[in-house]
Subunit: 372 residues, 2 copies
Amino acid sequence: MRKTIYEDQSTPKKDGYWMPGEFEPQERIYMLWPHRPDNWNMGAKPAQQTYANVARAIARFEPVVIGVKPEDYAAARYVFAEDENIDVVEMTSDDSWVRDCGPTFVKNADGDVRAVHWHFNAWGGYVDGLYFPWDQDELVGVKVADHAGVDRYRPDSFVLEGGSIHVDGEGTVITTEMCLLSEGRNPELSKEQIEGYLKEYLGVEKVIWVKDGIDPEETNGHIDDVACFVRPGEVACIWTDDEESPFYEASHAAYETLSHATDAKGRQLKVHKLTMPKKLTFMNEEQAASIDVVEGTLPRSPEDYSIASYMNFLIVNGAIIFPQYRDEYDALAVEQVQAMFPDREIVGVDTVEVAFGGGNIHCITQQLPKRG
Amino acid sequence: MRKTIYEDQSTPKKDGYWMPGEFEPQERIYMLWPHRPDNWNMGAKPAQQTYANVARAIARFEPVVIGVKPEDYAAARYVFAEDENIDVVEMTSDDSWVRDCGPTFVKNADGDVRAVHWHFNAWGGYVDGLYFPWDQDELVGVKVADHAGVDRYRPDSFVLEGGSIHVDGEGTVITTEMCLLSEGRNPELSKEQIEGYLKEYLGVEKVIWVKDGIDPEETNGHIDDVACFVRPGEVACIWTDDEESPFYEASHAAYETLSHATDAKGRQLKVHKLTMPKKLTFMNEEQAASIDVVEGTLPRSPEDYSIASYMNFLIVNGAIIFPQYRDEYDALAVEQVQAMFPDREIVGVDTVEVAFGGGNIHCITQQLPKRG
């Protein structure tokens, strides 16, 4: 087996490793196959079709590996039988948000890559976690690290999801207080101690704190629905001019914070605005009614706001895999993101079905940086 | 995904692929982790320890990959945490006989390797199979092929276990009539049609039929408890001078058949004798009583003969991983096999626990030939 490096042994920062920006060269993308009938409508079949579309969009640019639980393995293997750039491997998970339950990869100056295997507690554990148990999700970190063939850092108990951080690869991380200071993650740690963990495990020097995200009840406000690095010194931030929007305050506050922030290199950030969709609700009665109701999970209704943020895109080699919501602002959002990334192809994928589940393209993917 | 080549598309023989001899250079060994409480005593814990010893013996010579079902994954991953040459991957199986449920690998003149994914029905399906269901074992072939990163041949319905064949890599296969002509495998095929499948999928020209194996009730007489190729033109065959032995007749008959056989190249085979253990029964009351009784499985008793054949060894690069049964003839068997393989180290491993389950080292391993 590849090595496990526990907290009392070392950390990425001590060993000269840091998390590269998502816009840096990648080796492949990991995904998990959705299956929970109590989270996905219609037995997860529409979600699976959408994940397949996302995987195929990515596979035009780099290889994709999809982890599938044993019960779904034979069917999923068959779905991708003709896809040369997509591999299916058996990998049990409780749900399919590999960004959050999977590892974060770090790299050193020689191009060696290692994994950080955070602790995962389904976005809040016994306080406000979204399901129980999460033991299989907790193992995805080591399984993906092993599949990638890399050594693995393992903090003692630090809980973090990959969707709650964005880095510039040059010493800066953006995150939200709503999530990282939530009661359900690391309540025993002070803000300074949490900053310490981010610095040690992401190899950064500066933490930029955005106050709130836009989904307090689900991920407790992950940054990956709010803002991301476009390149060092430049970020994208969600925006709406509609004062009635439930996201108005959070988006304006985030924009303010980021516009006044300086990064680890002392640069004042340039902030690009990215629209929110016009619609707020997406699910119909039939879809909502087809989601299994289970004690302890959030009840669903067509009146619920879907957290459908255009920010939740994935950067891959030469392209942006970009959510499209059958919304009036779909084209505007593509235009805005194309302006931020003039050298990348913007590949829109209809991912309304992923939004139903509580996230989008960024949440269901995890990049392995290019080694060497 | 790697390509699947169905029967109506092509076969190894048509594409110039054949199964190399086990004594040829290997890339790695696949294993599965034992778990069935209705086959292994004491909840499979002693078996797991023995499998670990086998894996570590192999890992001195080449890498080992062990497939583990999700429920056992975390513990098995931990068992091998410090073993640099052993990888643990999630891979569900119904039991742990990868020789039989796993793929057989074939190779072409360019050194490219492909898998043959046979159909598997737990050694006899509804006729006299050993457990039900076997759907997860049936998928091990494709999972191992994918893990190895090779294309896969898939016959329409031909049932075969890897333990029922041994090849010389030069056009010859040895097998048994007891197994391959059994009612529980391919009853719709004639002996000639079965020969046809062996020729097409193993890339051989000649089938040498030994009549009987030594475990009619379990594998229906797999050849890998009876005989194997030491090198082209030379085979080993089990032997006992004890006329009271239940294996006397089968071993003498096999010896006779092999001694008079010629291979695909027209060579008369040289046959080396390998002793059977002196003891016939190995399990004690406590062990037998700790095996779960389930409707449809074979009941166990300390009076049962354990199928403990020294023939069930594995050839790896530079060594023979060799079963030891705490038997009076252990040392003699090592001596005999060392004489057959003077250039290889004979590594004895106490595998009495594997014998309890119905096989031995050869049954629980599958070699991936060296590519290139």
